[in-house]
Symmetry: C2
């Protein structure tokens, strides 16, 4: 049979990038292309104990159907924690638990976007979110990212040019892929612009807890007196991604629509997984665990940046991230970026070509994305040696 697929799914074509990544998925490849948390960052002992407790104390709740909003005790404790620690969430907001933060992007698109609606994204931005917006046939419009976040003059110009824009999508902390953190001044301006132009903001913050240096910058959501910010947080980077538990805090009527949307997507997030997070937050020293992860990632980030400076100091330029998982390196103009990624793959080092993170297939960049949480420390050293040597071919 000749299959006729939907227009939406046909826009998500396998790309040259995917092919490069495929070629580097073998076990002997140094995975600078991945985005996995370091396995030693998982609280395995806690998880062992808590899962035994859950299936001893309350197995039926863990195994029976749950409600689409999520496990009520988890919703309450996360909401209270986000209010207390970050000032996120007001009396006009509500929370639902999602199957990973990817689902927050999906539900945002589902409840807000009609086909051809405009989503304004940072350029570059997270490929997973871009593909979700594409799967709703949204039109992606990019705004350049500077060393302190999105270029606000360009954002304003874009809002003026695109009066039908529905959502501004931003990753304000340790942005994927650029590693950049948006300044407080820019967050305030972004909020004011969104308000002025009647556009919702999706503030995606999976990496916010992974700060290695400097001071936290308050979330855009802390400014939300007008009910225009959808805040997305995740347990993937601080507990474990394989459990697929994240959440969104947003205005009540948005959450109500998202709940209807979630019911049509996957009914609810798995109960055991939500109970595990709840017990972790209420019975374990989760703040102590987050502090340990930060120490781990600080050491890895310093190792990687030190090696980039040493091996590539005269070759690439980059903004040193204050946290997160990624470093975004710009190759010299003379270098064929895609060819460089291919050559690295042949030498068993996987990096992501920066074009993966752009809005249009015709957009170009000299940047590549490196990850320092997935490889071992030895892998970081060996991988940077190999990349360093490649320099002399250009």
């Amino acid at each position: 049979m000749e299959y006729v697929f939907s227009d939406r799914i046909s826009t998500l074509k396998p790309s040259a990038i995917r092919e490069i990544l495929k070629a580097t998925s073998q076990g002997d490849v140094i995975p600078f292309a991945a985005g996995n948390p370091a396995p030693e960052a998982f609280p395995v002992e806690d998880v062992r104990r808590l899962s035994a407790e859950i299936f001893a104390d309350d197995p039926i709740t863990a195994l029976q159907y749950g409600i689409s909003e999520g496990y009520t005790p988890l919703r309450q404790v996360v909401f209270a924690d986000m209010q207390k620690r970050f000032g996120v969430g007001t009396a006009d907001d509500d929370i639902i638990i999602t199957s990973g933060a990817q689902q927050v992007v999906d539900l945002t698109a589902k409840v807000l976007l009609n086909e051809d609606d405009v989503v304004i994204c940072e350029a570059p931005s997270f490929i997973g979110a871009l593909n979700t917006f594409r799967s709703y046939k949204a039109r992606l419009v990019g705004v350049d990212v500077e060393a302190d976040g999105m270029d606000m003059d360009k954002l304003e110009a874009t809002l003026r040019r695109e009066p039908g824009a529905k959502v501004i999508y931003t990753i304000p902390n340790f942005q994927n892929p650029s590693g950049v953190t948006m300044s407080w001044a820019k967050r305030q301006r972004l909020y004011e612009l969104a308000k002025q132009y009647g556009v919702m903001v999706l503030e995606d913050n999976p990496y916010g807890e992974l700060r290695c240096r400097g001071e936290d910058v308050p979330a855009i959501k802390t400014l939300d007196k007008d009910g225009i910010v959808i805040y997305s947080g995740s347990f993937s980077k601080i507990l474990a991604p394989g459990i697929r538990v994240a959440f969104t805090i947003a205005p009540k009527s948005v959450i109500a629509k998202m709940t209807v949307g979630k019911q049509a997507s996957d009914v609810h997030t798995a109960c055991f997984n939500q109970m595990l997070v709840y017990r972790w937050m209420t019975e374990c020293d989760y703040l102590g665990h987050i502090a340990k992860i930060r120490d781990n990632y600080r050491e890895r980030l310093d190792l990687m940046c030190g090696l980039i400076d040493e091996k590539w100091g005269d070759f690439v330029t980059y903004v040193r991230p204050e946290g997160g998982l990624f470093i975004w390196c710009e190759l010299p103009e003379r270098v064929d970026m895609l060819g460089f990624c291919r050559a690295a793959a042949e030498r068993k080092v996987a990096v992501v070509p920066g074009t993966a993170f752009l809005m249009q297939p015709t957009d170009t960049t000299q940047c590549i994305r490196l990850n320092f949480s997935t490889p071992t420390r030895e892998g970081i050293v060996k991988g940077m040696e190999i990349l360093g040597e490649m320099k002399k071919d250009y």
Copy 2:
């Protein structure tokens, strides 16, 4: 702020039905309106042991990111099991693991449907699936269900009238809500019609293993020489719904697109949950467990049907199901069906008004849906006594 939601989500409005169900969600209500498996049907001891094993033997696989297709050992064992036990799945098919069978409907819609495309459904049909199709702005066209399944002459007439139809959606075994099982002759005819008119079939089979009487009827998918059937199976009713693990077996190119779609929805189904199902299938007597569930549900079905015959013999008509979870009762013409459901709710018995399962808000029915897996045996007896007494008001 005045929120402007997407057209797709605005079509999913809270309805009179939802209000009735809400009024009956209190703890003291007899839940004939639910669809939960009986809690005593969960293999709690197995789950306890297996979860301890998983977090002892292989915690990192359980906690780290997985691939969108699903946990490879689970995919292999389910595919082999489905081939061996049911003849489902050929060399041209592939399998992905999904977050519940609701996600199979969602992914089918995502990869096959453009807005306004027609989906042909049994009338009545599962409200969850109907809402998912609605969330893609599909146009639902119903074909009446008879005592042996969809009316095939009407299906053919519908296919002739709707040349752009993309999908026929069917629940062939113990259909939700009608309880009806499609005959083998009708399955063959449905397949031939789908082939002739170039329409894909979504065969949703969450209840197939819950047969209490009679012989299994082969799946439509066993006829699939042409690559037109998407088969959906689930562990919700035989292991536990709270873990949210289901699967779909479909032609390879459809699965490839679904995988891209799933990546944009929730990246992958939680790893621990998939590993749990894998170990349950390979280390436990899962066929013995399924046999026990069937015994449990046979007893409940017989209890409920006996009471309906006794208390309501001269009041309702129904087709006695050979399995599944639901009984579909038709009230006399003189009875106001919605009013009856409201009156039952006031007497603390929750039933679902049949209009919930129809395509259009203007469609009418005299039927209500009763569930016998969620209430206790005492609840079944007490609930049917109350419903029986209500008869004299009409």
